[in-house]
């Protein structure tokens, strides 16, 4: 155990020195899901460094003890078949480690795929996050507002992101709040997050999606619930409404700054119906969705 902590200390010193003394994003969680993931990561780094050290130690021992230069000219190494006991140990230890990690992994799967622990009794804030080349559109159906390339969220409230894409597969990722999930054109995926510390976080598309991929990022601002409500009110008073025409303009390939609207595009361009897991597909709405997808592609063609 001591060794493990010493190693972790070394690892952390090196990493912090290398990254200019700031903690690594993924290991600096600001919400319960990211925290669970960071804990899993630290746990596995610990166990794994133990394995690496063990292998290194055995290797070093063998090399020092059995190198030819240390042995007499006429030493003839013996013929050794396997040894069932030794081999059973070599299977047994990894099996135990894998079983242990499997249990952790399965537990975590169910945790990150559900409303964050401790928030089950709260009504989640549903946000539709859709990507188009190379932007993010965030629709707040309850609040009836929409933002582009930035996200405002309340702290201490479960967030349910509904993800889909108006183009290539993208991946919605806010490292400090939790791991990523794909956004695809023909279905909606769900990502459960929550923020516990107010602040500004980096969010981006993590999945390669073409020329503008590197800049396909967005800013996340987590604020206390009261402040969030104020912001919503303010948007409703000041922002202009999102029309279908405006939205189609926004979908055109390229980069945009941040902008804010009242109303959401869900009204005239609803999310694909096919939720992952459900078997039936609502033909009508998917067709509608794809029509808008197509006009976007045609635009792209004419530009080339």
């Amino acid at each position: 155990m001591k060794l493990k902590w010493a190693l972790l200390a070394v690892f952390f010193t090196i990493t912090t020195v290398l990254t200019g003394c700031e903690p690594l994003l993924v290991l600096d969680p600001k919400g319960p899901q990211a925290e669970r993931q960071a804990n899993d990561i630290m746990l596995s780094i610990g166990i794994m460094s133990f394995i690496v050290i063990a292998v290194l130690a055995i290797l070093t021992y063998m090399l020092i003890k059995y190198r030819a230069s240390k042995q007499s000219e006429d030493y003839e190494p013996p013929h050794i078949e396997g040894n069932p006991i030794v081999e059973a140990i070599c299977v047994g230890i990894p099996v135990i480690i894998v079983i242990f990690l499997s249990i952790v992994s399965v537990k975590s799967n169910y945790i990150v795929e559900a409303t964050p622990q401790g928030y089950e009794d709260q009504e989640p804030l549903v946000i539709y996050a859709s990507s188009s080349n190379w932007k993010w559109h965030f629709s707040y159906p309850e609040e009836d507002i929409e933002t582009v390339n930035y996200l405002y969220i309340p702290t201490d409230r479960p967030l349910e992101f509904k993800l889909y894409s108006y183009g290539p597969i993208t991946s919605f990722w806010i490292p400090q709040l939790g791991g990523q999930k794909y956004a695809m054109a023909d279905m909606v995926t769900t990502l459960h997050l929550a923020a516990e510390v107010p602040g500004e976080y980096m969010g981006r598309n993590a999945n390669f999606s073409g020329e503008g991929f590197a800049e396909n990022a967005f800013n996340v601002k987590a604020v206390p619930p009261a402040e969030f409500d104020e912001w919503v009110e303010e948007v409703k008073e000041t922002a202009s409404p999102l029309t279908e025409e405006k939205f189609n303009e926004l979908l055109e390939p390229g980069h945009l700054g941040q902008s804010t609207y009242t109303g959401t595009h869900l009204e005239f361009s609803p999310a694909p119906e096919h939720n992952h897991g459900s078997s039936e597909q609502d033909e009508h709405s998917t067709d509608e969705h794809h029509e808008s997808g197509h006009s976007e592609h045609d635009d792209e063609h004419s530009q080339h």
């Binding site: 030493y75 030794v86 399965v106 590197a214």
Partner: protein, 646 residues
């Protein structure tokens, strides 16, 4: 005019024009050189038409090295682009093309031919056969691979390179988002070389099952042959999936079908599934033969037999089965839910167990040995700890909930380079150094070799370990640039330095070949490393017929048996039946190249003509009366005396 426009590169740059000029000059230089030295006949008779598994192996080896430098040039460009934040050296589109071709070239046209080089060279020698089961088919496999590789490589000067990543996910790789012919090249070039690979798989399996020398039961085969057998079985099961996926992708792009589109009932996720149902086994196709080479080398330089032969075989069989049950771990984040992720998380981690067994077996092979630190051994010893790091980070990635954070980041990039470079590339370089004397009759210089090893190892650690950290700091893979504020500039600079050190290491390999050709002594005997398996029991360099007398095998360590008084070559010389050379495989390769090129540009008439040409070749072969030839006892005696005298 419009007809020719499509062959132009859609996104040219000075670098591309410079490469065009360079390629043109090289081709002219090669043609002029061959003509001046009157080597056309030699080239045709001895190489282009050969069906000898050893020569085919050497052609694979040369191709692999060439492609290593092509892919390496891509790599150094990428690292240079990322070395400093907000770099403008490459633009996004070029960067995308470069990482796409880097991935495809390194996996399909560098690692695969490297593996095939050793399979071709060693399997017949290790099982005491005169050639593979179907020598002509073997030549066709090579020329298909070569046609595919060349087709892929011209993409960046004719029509544009693919730019959707080596994984080529749809809909990004579809017509809507990848408008150049680049992805057509990807689909067709991989299809052609994949066909060759599938044929090699069938050929090698047949060879191993049918052509082993008397006495060599399966459990007496040298470990490399075992690992190749299993890798080839994986090939036969996995490559048809790639064939189907590529065919569907090609139809989507060229014939307007909707397999992977997001409308009209297409499913983009289907591509990801098919790709990785092939793709995961593919990484084991690469690593298993590498394991085989390490097993040979570690045993030789420990002066001992391989520890735990049976568990080595059992673990590989287990790995081959498991490798088909884990593909979903490449997209844990696709939203298939906790249950599916849990199942695939467990199957993935399970692979670590047989892999761990192998690591321990290598460690115990050192035990009570007499360890000699030669260049091949250094690679193998470096492999053990470095590959362990790659393996354990694989286990970390396999924890699906945590993978939501690693996926698509530099952490993943670090993982797979950490398995592929110390695992596959080091194995190939180790095998290259170890079998070089068997192939060419002299050794590579050990001192330069050691320098190379250290540069590659230090360079590797410098280049790839920082990526684990920058990945955890939120650096996504495949970003062509990042801002200063992101905070991982320093780590990326380190990676660039490491990559540069590795580049010098690779250049040293070429220098070593040059140096050793000039200065290495030629009288090294049949077994310069003091190894024990059957391939070292014949002469160096190996005569065309491999063994003058078919060996009578008693164990997996033929030369140790000889020492203990076993008669490995009983009986006397008899005439040997060998296959004739044939120009047909080469011609088919050329036709396939034309076929592929026409397909890429949707030129249907040349495509139809080429298709007819392919069937005509096959028809010709069916009607051909070629029963091979005999090497007479007199000829064998002469060759043997000459080789023994040398």
């Amino acid at each position: 005019m419009e007809f020719f426009e499509r062959f132009a590169v859609p996104h040219p740059s000075p670098a591309i024009y410079a490469s065009m000029v360079a390629i043109g000059l090289t081709v002219i230089a090669i043609i002029a050189g061959l003509t001046y030295f009157k080597k056309w006949g030699y080239l045709w008779r001895e190489w282009l038409t050969t069906v000898d598994h050893k020569r085919i192996a050497i052609m694979y080896l040369i191709s692999a090295l060439l492609m290593l430098f092509r892919g390496g040039a891509d790599a150094i460009l990428m690292r240079a682009q990322l070395a400093v934040p907000d770099n403008k050296m490459l633009d996004a589109q070029h960067y995308n093309e470069i990482f796409t071709t880097h991935g495809v070239v390194m996996i399909m046209f560098m690692a695969m031919p490297f593996v095939f080089a050793f399979m071709n060279y060693l399997i017949p020698l290790q099982i005491g056969a005169r050639d593979v089961a179907f020598p002509r088919l073997n030549a066709i496999s090579f020329w298909l691979f070569f046609a595919g590789a060349m087709l892929f490589n011209i993409s960046f000067v004719v029509g544009g390179s693919p730019d959707a990543g080596w994984t080529s996910y749809f809909p990004l790789a579809g017509n809507d988002f990848s408008t150049s012919v680049g992805t057509n090249y990807y689909m067709i070039a991989l299809q052609i070389s994949g066909l060759g690979t599938l044929m090699t798989g069938i050929n090698m399996i047949t060879t191993i099952f049918k052509m082993r020398a008397p006495g060599m039961t399966l459990m007496k085969m040298p470990m490399f042959t075992w690992s190749s057998l299993i890798a080839n079985v994986i090939i036969v099961f996995a490559f048809p999936v790639l064939t189907v996926a590529l065919a569907m992708g090609t139809m989507d792009r060229l014939f307007g079908t909707n397999f992977f589109t997001t409308s009209n009932g297409g499913m983009d996720m289907l591509w990801a599934n098919l790709f990785w149902v092939w793709g995961h086994p593919e990484v084991y196709i690469l690593i298993l033969p590498a394991f085989g080479l390490y097993s040979e080398i570690i045993a030789t330089f420990s002066g001992r037999n391989l520890y735990g032969y049976k568990s080595m075989v059992a673990s590989m069989v287990l790995i081959s089965l498991l490798s088909f049950l884990v593909w979903t771990h490449h997209f844990f984040t696709m939203g298939q839910g906790a249950l599916t992720n849990s199942i695939f998380s467990i199957t993935t981690m399970a692979i670590a167990v047989p892999t761990g067994v192998k690591i321990f077996n290598w460690l115990f092979t050192l035990w009570k040995g007499k360890i000699r630190f030669t260049v091949p051994m250094l690679y193998s010893l470096g492999f053990i700890p470095l590959f362990t790091v790659g393996g354990v980070t694989g286990v970390m990635l396999a924890m699906s909930a945590a993978d939501y954070q690693y996926h698509n980041t530099m952490f993943l990039v670090a993982h797979f380079h950490n398995t592929i470079i110390p695992g596959v590339v080091f194995a190939m370089l180790a095998g290259f150094t170890y079998y070089w004397p068997k192939m060419f009759g002299f050794m590579l210089n050990e001192k330069i070799g050691k320098w190379t090893f250290w540069m590659l190892t230090v360079g590797f650690v410098l280049a790839f370990f920082p990526m684990y950290i920058s990945g955890l700091d939120g650096q996504a893979r495949r970003m062509y640039t990042y801002s200063e504020a992101a905070g991982f500039s320093m780590l990326n600079m380190l990676s660039f330095v490491g990559a540069a050190v590795m580049a010098f290491g690779f250049v040293l390999i070429v220098y070593n070949i040059y140096y050793s050709v000039r200065y290495s002594p030629r009288n090294i005997g049949a077994n310069p490393w003091n190894a024990r398996s059957l391939e070292w029991a014949t002469h160096t360099p190996v005569p065309e017929y491999n063994f003058a007398i078919t060996p009578n095998v008693a164990s997996s360590e033929a030369l140790r048996d000889v020492k203990n008084g076993h008669d490995l070559f009983p009986g006397k010389y008899e005439k040997i039946h060998m296959p004739n050379n044939s120009g047909l495989p080469f011609i088919m390769g050329v036709i396939f190249f034309v076929w592929g090129f026409s397909f890429v540009f949707a030129m249907w008439i040349p495509l139809i003509i080429a298709t007819i040409g392919i069937f005509a070749c096959m028809g010709y072969r069916s009607a051909e009366k070629d029963h091979g030839r005999y090497i007479s006892v007199k000829e064998i005696e002469d060759t043997e005396t000459k080789l023994r005298g040398a």
